[in-house]
Symmetry: C2
Subunit: 265 residues, 2 copies
């Protein structure tokens, strides 16, 4: 048993979809969330810069005495996770392994489309992990850099979003994918419109929910779960505060966020 907090970080507030999933599965855990909103987004930046920022994020969480860290950002997981795991002693879990497991949970999955930021796609991290685990898979990657801005503007219902998605999804549908992997923690908010556009035949997989499951296994294996009877707390720290981020935080968390503090890294 270990009642210390879990640290969860993302480039912005999108990682709160992971927080929500962790709270649902592991309600006894205290969570310290860090969103690097002063430097968001990471998805369009270079691997070197993403590694430097991710390292600073981890260092902040370590000052909060966390027992384990979740990298709730696909871009940071893709470029920085191996470096972070090597550099620090505590368990550090990313979203990619979880997403890969979720895809493979369906033994029939053979034609997988992956949508993500430019940075995540450029890393080919998902493609690599999937190809290692199931041979003969057809994997189609598509960078979808405009989705984060559209989601952050809450333009999910706007006709422009549908037109952007039309362009992004076309090459995936032409390859007759059976599975669509949402490889960005922002994208769960698009599930209804995506399902409508691609039809029931294509299974949508998001990494937020499976990431929580992955974390649970990791904590159990190391006997690091919190005592089950307690009620976990959530604190949120952002590197930049604005009204906009508070509105977004509520949307991703699907409830009012607790008091948010601003920190400098």
């Amino acid at each position: 048993m270990n009642n210390s907090a879990l640290g969860i970080f993302d480039s912005g507030v999108g990682g709160l979809t992971v927080v929500r999933a962790v709270q649902e599965l592991l309600p006894a855990e205290n969570i310290v969330y860090l969103g690097d909103t002063a430097r968001v987004p990471y998805g369009s930046k270079s691997p070197e810069t993403i590694r430097r920022f991710s390292d600073e994020d981890v260092r902040y969480l370590l000052t909060q005495q966390v027992k384990a860290i979740v990298v709730a950002c696909n871009t940071a997981t893709a470029h920085a996770l191996p470096m972070l795991q090597e550099r620090y002693q505590i368990p550090i879990v990313g979203v990619i392994e979880a997403g890969v497991e979720a895809v493979l949970a369906d033994p029939e999955a053979q034609r997988v489309g992956i949508i993500a930021t430019r940075g995540t796609i450029a890393s080919h991290a998902y493609q690599h992990a999937l190809a290692q685990r199931r041979t003969g898979m057809v994997i189609v990657e598509q960078a979808t850099p405009l989705l984060v801005p559209l989601i952050e503007e809450n333009w999910i219902e706007h006709p422009a979003t549908r037109q952007v998605l039309d362009t992004y999804l076309q090459p995936l549908l032409e390859k007759q994918i059976d599975t669509l992997l949402l490889a960005c923690t922002h994208y769960p908010l698009l599930v209804p419109i995506l399902q409508e556009m691609i039809g029931d035949r294509v299974r949508i997989v998001d990494s937020a929910s499976t990431c929580a499951l992955h974390l649970q296994h990791e904590l159990m294996r190391r006997a690091m779960l919190a005592e089950p009877e307690r009620a976990g707390t959530l604190s949120i720290a952002l590197t930049d505060l604005s009204d906009q981020f508070e509105v977004l935080a509520k949307r991703f968390l699907r409830k009012c966020p607790p008091h948010i503090t601003r920190v400098e890294l």
Copy 2:
């Protein structure tokens, strides 16, 4: 006469539209450009964070022995220019005064629409400056946060951009504006599509070209222009390097950029 370089900074590479205008008007000037691409965009961040980042940008340019600084970013001008001018001794020029002058150059301009990032609009800097200089003006402000991502993706010709612009322009056209002020250094790339959508009756004003004129006046007044016979140089420093930024730099500059160096602030 003063042959030291001009320092020009922006949150990213959009400010290269200002560099281009300065090079055309003042070809003898050496220019040191700084783009804070590691932390781009500024437009959605808080005034406090924008001031902190802008201050760090200026400090970097001062290490390059510049004789004057141009804040080639509307959001940074709106929130940080007065602080910077107070804090540092060398001349610091922003884009807002230039944009305001360009609007007022037409004595008939009475109904002005302003499009800009969320941060620039929230500052009401343009509205304030215009209202002080010409009474009775109708000023309609519209935050257009999706335009920078669409321009950076080079989706200017995509139907989604037209649909986004439809939504953004509608409240301005309903107010029957006679002038549209592009209050973001990215937006000059949209001039052809904007002119097509709003018609010839509305005059489009962009701050990049008038900013160069404003700078020229300021340097002449202080006898700080470079010797006219020389050929000015351009060096570009970015806080993050990626292929994407190089492609964008070329588009904004309308020619191949010189060798780009990466710097940490």
